[in-house]
Each structure stands twice: as structure tokens, then as C-alpha cells.
């Protein structure tokens, strides 16, 4: 039940695509991927959650830590997701007021 993670650059942003279920077991993989990007001085990060079918507060904790780390370095961490369970857990915890959120990667990177 691993996550599938991939990254690319788009309009000056590092886009991290996430696919699968983010929970207590898999959230460390997401954390490592975000850490790797920030260590590579990629501090403008878009995390694409459109293909995440489940996320619990373990995943949210990793995203919050990533946001803090990016902002400490003068960057930003934005989230992309559509309607569904990810949107609900982000909304119910109020994190939609903390993260920049977008419906598409193009919208997040200013390319659309």
C-alpha cells in the first residue's frame, strides 16, 4: 500500500504528484518527498492530491510541517485537490484557511 510519488518543475514550482492513500503508514513517504524537495532548495512546492483516495491527520501533519518548512525558507506550499474525501478532511480541520488551495496544478503554478 505504498504511495506513488513523482515530481516535476512547472513555471518555477516543484510539483509533487501523490497517488494512493496517505495514512499513518504511508505519510512518512510523503514527508521524505517534501523534505527532499526543500533540501534541493525547491521551496515553492505544489502538492497535487487529485489522485489521493484517502488522507487522515497523519498526512495533514506532514503537509503542515512541509508548509512551515517552505515558508521558513521564504517559499510556499500549495495544495491541489478536487471535491471528495481529501477536500472534506482539509475543510473540517480548517486547513483550507492556512494553505493556498487550488483545483488544478495549472491554476496553482499560474500556468492556467
Amino acid at each position: 500500500m505504498d504511495l506513488v510519488l513523482g515530481s516535476r518543475n512547472e513555471n518555477g514550482w516543484a510539483v509533487l504528484e501523490v497517488q494512493g492513500e496517505v495514512d499513518l503508514y504511508t505519510s512518512s513517504q510523503l514527508r521524505d518527498a517534501i523534505l527532499r524537495l526543500t533540501e534541493e532548495a525547491e521551496n515553492r512546492i505544489v502538492v497535487d492530491l487529485n489522485n489521493v483516495s484517502f488522507m487522515d491527520s497523519s498526512g495533514l501533519g506532514v503537509l503542515v510541517a512541509g508548509l512551515k518548512r517552505a515558508r521558513e525558507r521564504g517559499g510556499e506550499l500549495a495544495l491541489v485537490f478536487g471535491e471528495g474525501s481529501v477536500q472534506k478532511v482539509i475543510g473540517i480541520t480548517g486547513l483550507d484557511k492556512i494553505f493556498p488551495t487550488h483545483r488544478s496544478v495549472g491554476e496553482a503554478t499560474g500556468g492556467a
Binding site: E21, D23, L24, Y25, F54, D56, S57, S85
Partner: protein, 139 residues
């Protein structure tokens, strides 16, 4: 992986339970188990997603606290909804799982199911909540 599943029928309704080791790798099995039971009971998909999240948080919370015994998840089909009980116990590890989570897992469960409650005693911790058959749309 799951240690076992049992079915029980009594006058109050049907209860199905699953016991898993207190291992992060097993939490996904609980979500699948709960969703399967809920779907079979005719729960709307939105509530199934809420149930998956709540049982996942309850199991993760038990693992976060360092429980080393098994975690038992029981779903009882009642006329108004599904009663869920997540029971954990056993000794506490010296080192717990790292506290990455700034969000209180139990508060999140209560946000989904306001009747959620926890009980602790005699080395056991229980999280209980009810998933109503009708969605009250809390978003």
C-alpha cells in the same frame, strides 16, 4: 494483517469485528473492513468515507499512544445506524510513534460524529461513535 474476524448475531442486531496488530501497516485493512460492512449495510458513500476516516483515526490514535496489544474494531448494525467501537489495550512501548500530527485525532472523529466518546481504564481504551444511516452533511 488481521488476526481474525468474527460474526455474531443477537437480539440487538448483528456485530462484526476485526482484530489487528497495533501496526501502522494494518490500519488500511480496518478501513477496507469498515467500508465493506458499511456498504453492505447500505450506508451512503459520503458516510462510508467519514467512517473510513474515523476508524483510521481511532486506530492511528491507539498506535500513536504506543499500544502494543491488538486493536479490535467492532461494527454493530442497529436500526438507526452503525455503532462503532475501537478497543485497544496491552502494554505501552518505551518509545511511541513520533508525534507528527498537530491535529487531535479524537477531535477530528468528533467533528465527523459528534456523539464520539472515549473511555479508558484497566489497561483498555475504547473509542465509540455512531454512524447514522442518514447523512447530516457537516461540511
Amino acid at each position: 494483517m488481521a488476526q481474525g474476524a468474527t460474526d455474531r448475531n443477537d437480539a440487538a442486531g448483528s456485530t462484526v469485528s476485526l482484530a489487528i496488530p497495533a501496526d501502522p501497516a494494518s490500519v488500511g485493512t480496518v478501513r477496507y473492513f469498515a467500508a465493506t460492512i458499511a456498504r453492505h449495510a447500505g450506508l451512503p458513500e459520503e458516510l462510508i468515507n467519514d467512517l473510513r476516516l474515523a476508524v483510521s483515526e481511532a486506530c492511528a490514535e491507539a498506535i500513536d499512544t504506543g499500544v502494543t496489544g491488538s486493536i479490535r474494531v467492532a461494527l454493530s448494525l442497529e436500526p438507526e445506524g452503525i455503532d462503532v467501537e475501537v478497543t485497544s489495550g496491552g502494554s505501552i512501548r518505551q518509545e511511541g510513534w513520533e508525534g507528527l500530527v498537530p491535529i487531535n485525532r479524537l477531535q477530528l472523529i468528533r467533528a465527523l460524529f459528534p456523539d464520539a466518546e472515549t473511555h479508558q481504564g484497566r489497561g483498555m481504551r475504547v473509542v465509540r461513535f455512531t454512524v447514522p444511516f442518514a447523512s447530516s452533511s457537516k461540511t
